[in-house]
Subunit: 507 residues, 2 copies
């Protein structure tokens, strides 16, 4: 719709050639990834993350040869790029597409895994690293460095696992792994920041209380901000009905507000991840139902695609980053020590995960989520900052990369077959959320009883509610939430509410 | 779908607070713009560009007061940002949504306006500026500077006009204004680059020939590249059918390939604008019909929305940039001289436009496009580069900003009422392209004649074709292009071809 003169367009004076080359290479790699991912869709050992990682490694090797072993980097994968442009669409889409009912049904176990589990993991890894790495012969790191390592490596990344898991086939496993990731993330942030500003002279109990307070404050304010922005968008869509003139405005406003919620959270030093995640949930519950039909289709697919591109991009970057010569040069330690440290860290991470996943899973007596252990691939960047800048820290960075690559490729490959072996596949539900529908209908029947048999029905209803409260407390919470939603929220913010899903309502 | 640990997330060490503040402000402004634009939709004097520009001015004023008159800039509107992220989606969407038939039907007049018109305008503005500005009393500029001014100001920006024009209501005017902008753009690039590397010692006729050769080379290679990438995408979509597994891959690949075409063109020093424009045309003709239904809806709306956001963003930036104190400080000239230079340039631009629009329009005896004069709002950046860095050049920059602001606000406001006054509104077509359908049906009837009356029909057909070739040469070209498309292109690259539009085929 626009034609602007770019008068310096031909000359390369305004755009550096290196930027253009880097973008060309990255977009080619992304495109290749998409196509290979499509061709290998049926392959049970491969997934898009692994393909992207391997492609990144290959490209890195080529660049290494072309630049005469100077550097494998053609684009600086800065923190700005990651936190401003790649992370928000991924997390927002996660909130937007998550099955809300499954997620909130398992909220208790998610919090258990997320908070307590991360703390257990953090303690184990820190102490283990302190003992074992000093035993290997590296003494330059302080107590704070070990605690930082613990905080970083106790965070998990669920990208790779969630690519393998299917929300329709294993809904419980999916929502736990996924929700744990969000909470775990917030916990790690609190732990890391606390470690950075920790005063070891004060007593431990006060510190622990402070940590708990910070976590609760962070969790509540971030969530509230996300919900507030989501409700604002729903209110605007319902009352202004932007789609009357142009569907583009609806789309634009949804994107802008989602992004704004993340930015405001960052500005207020909250957890942008939690905020944009809950903003996505509220938007899919209210806002999405207030927009035009074509906007619904568009948002659903456009957000998923943006998230998909961002994820693939990150994995390609990690693959290329692994070959960064400078990093390896700085770590002067011998190959033996490097491997020793890598395997130590790796073992610690596995033990840290197992130490809380199995007991909690046993308590909940539900499902085995051991396979959800995916290492955070951002750890190398983080570690670069957290550990003091000695040669030993360079060693830690290279070790982290080994851990990340190994875990992504090896575990990524075995996850799908293992899940298939452990848990027989459910037959794929034909409808969008057919299991929900049954329950929705039951609730509807309970609520919308006609004038006939009303008194009799009321009696049954009351009985059933009391019985339910005893047998299924979470379902009762859900029931009251529905009541509240119908009475107070929906008249103001719109949304579909809890009527059964009508097939063909939106593509 | 992803949860990554950002361990340094809370601390502001990795993201500068200024970046976050700037992004917050910009996203708030964009959101406000969208809402105000919706509320003022029925208003005939306002449009989104003007609103964005005025909002930018307001925000700039506020920032100016907050920063104690140091700077009104909170985000550096770099050339990278513009050429890498804002321009490609705008131009791609233009190609993707343009009515191809109208565009190619008027290709001759578009080329006339675009090439000859720009050259006339260039000569007039350069000579006029040379005479008048020296007369005002500024003597520091060389001949090259005046030629550069001519090249820059002979380019028009159609963003504002096209926001007011309606593709359905005034299809001819729209396609001419639009197409002229694309060609005009390429011509300006060639002129500007030629001016920069011009050797004034050689004879004029050789230079002119060289210019013509460069233009033809640029035009043909850029177009060919865009078509090639577009066809590649169509071929991939048709043969791999990515939508079988995931619609996200289709979307991702279309976006990636479109962007890649622009980047490759930049890499080869071609006109990225022409390339991505033709890539968009080919994609909407072939690729779009090879993807799933939901991908069609999504691409259509998502591309339009991205383009819309980019446009609004640019106008806000221009509004804020106008208050940049440093620029005004550097131009030490008195207010009188500044106004004099501004009005001189402004008058020259109007004369330059009128000098070719009216004669060519008279020759074509079709329609008055005088109102299409929109000044290129990028000119201030361009000029900052092109003119030598003296105080006089600062004066030229500030003068350009005045010209840009004045023309956007004043002309933007009067365009809509003026078009309504000059040309009575057509009743809005009910179908997507109902006028095309009639013709499509006629062609279908001519081609797909049944076995009955075949020989008789053939006779009529042959007669009608010869008659058509004489009366409507462009229609005959179109007829043969259809034949070629059906026989050779569609079997390989897919696409809907020229069958009538089925309502409800895609939302």
């Amino acid at each position: 719709m626009a034609l602007l003169l770019p008068p310096l367009h031909l000359s390369t004076s305004y755009l550096s050639t290196s930027t253009i080359v880097a973008l060309c290479v990255f977009f080619t790699l992304l495109g290749t990834c998409v196509i290979i991912g499509h061709l290998l869709e049926e392959n049970r050992w491969a997934n898009e993350s692994i393909i992207a990682l391997l492609l990144g490694l290959c490209a890195g090797t080529v660049v290494l040869f072309v630049t005469n072993f100077k550097s494998a980097k053609i684009l600086i994968f800065s923190e700005d790029l990651f936190f401003l442009y790649l992370l928000p669409p991924i997390i927002f889409n996660a909130g937007f597409q998550v099955k809300k009912k499954q997620f909130f049904k398992n909220f208790t176990i998610i919090l258990l895994f997320g908070v307590i589990g991360t703390v257990i993991s953090f303690c184990l890894i820190s102490v283990g690293a302190l003992i074992l790495i000093q035993w290997i012969g590296i003494a330059n790191l302080g107590l704070k460095d070990y605690l930082a390592i613990g905080a970083i490596l106790s965070a998990t990344d669920s990208v790779c696992t969630l690519q393998v898991l299917n929300q329709d086939e294993t809904p419980l496993l999916y929502s736990i792994v996924f929700g744990e990731g969000v909470v775990n993330d917030a916990t790690s942030i609190v732990l890391f920041n606390s470690v950075q500003s920790l005063d070891f002279s004060s007593s431990n109990s006060v510190t622990a209380l402070k940590l708990l307070g910070t976590f609760l404050y962070l969790f509540c304010t971030s969530t509230a901000l996300g919900i507030a922005v989501g409700l604002l968008s729903a209110y605007i869509m319902k009352n202004l009905y932007l789609g009357r003139h142009s569907t583009d405005r609806e789309l634009a406003l949804m994107m802008l507000l989602a992004y704004l919620s993340y930015m405001i959270a960052e500005l207020l030093s909250l957890s942008g991840i939690l905020t944009i995640f809950f903003c996505g949930i509220v938007m899919s519950h209210y806002t999405w139902h207030n927009v035009t039909l074509s906007s619904r289709t568009t948002t659903k697919h456009a957000f998923a695609t943006l998230s998909f591109i961002a994820e693939t991009f990150i994995f390609i970057c990690v693959g290329m980053d692994a070959l960064d010569i400078d990093k390896w040069k700085n770590s002067k330690g011998s190959a033996g020590i490097s491997v020793a440290v890598s395997s130590t860290l790796f073992a610690l991470v596995l033990i840290g995960r197992a130490a809380f996943v199995f007991p909690i899973a046993y308590i909940k007596n539900r499902i085995n989520t051991r396979e959800n252990t995916r290492l955070e691939f951002r750890s190398q960047f983080a570690e670069a900052k957290s550990t003091s800048s000695t040669q030993d820290s360079a060693l830690m960075i290279t070790s982290s990369i080994i851990v990340v690559l190994f875990s992504t490729v090896v575990f990524g490959s075995i996850t799908k077959p293992l899940i298939e072996a452990v848990q027989p596949r459910h037959p794929k539900p034909t409808s969008f959320d057919s299991t929900d529908n049954v329950e929705d209908l039951r609730f509807l029947l309970l609520e919308n009883n006609g004038p006939i048999n009303q008194s009799n029905n009321m009696q049954i209803q009351r009985q059933s509610r009391i019985r339910m409260l005893i047998s299924h407390p979470s379902k009762t919470v859900h029931y009251f939430w529905r009541k509240f939603d119908d009475k107070f929220m929906r008249p103001v913010f719109g949304g579909r509410g809890f009527v059964p899903f009508v097939p063909g309502e939106a593509a």
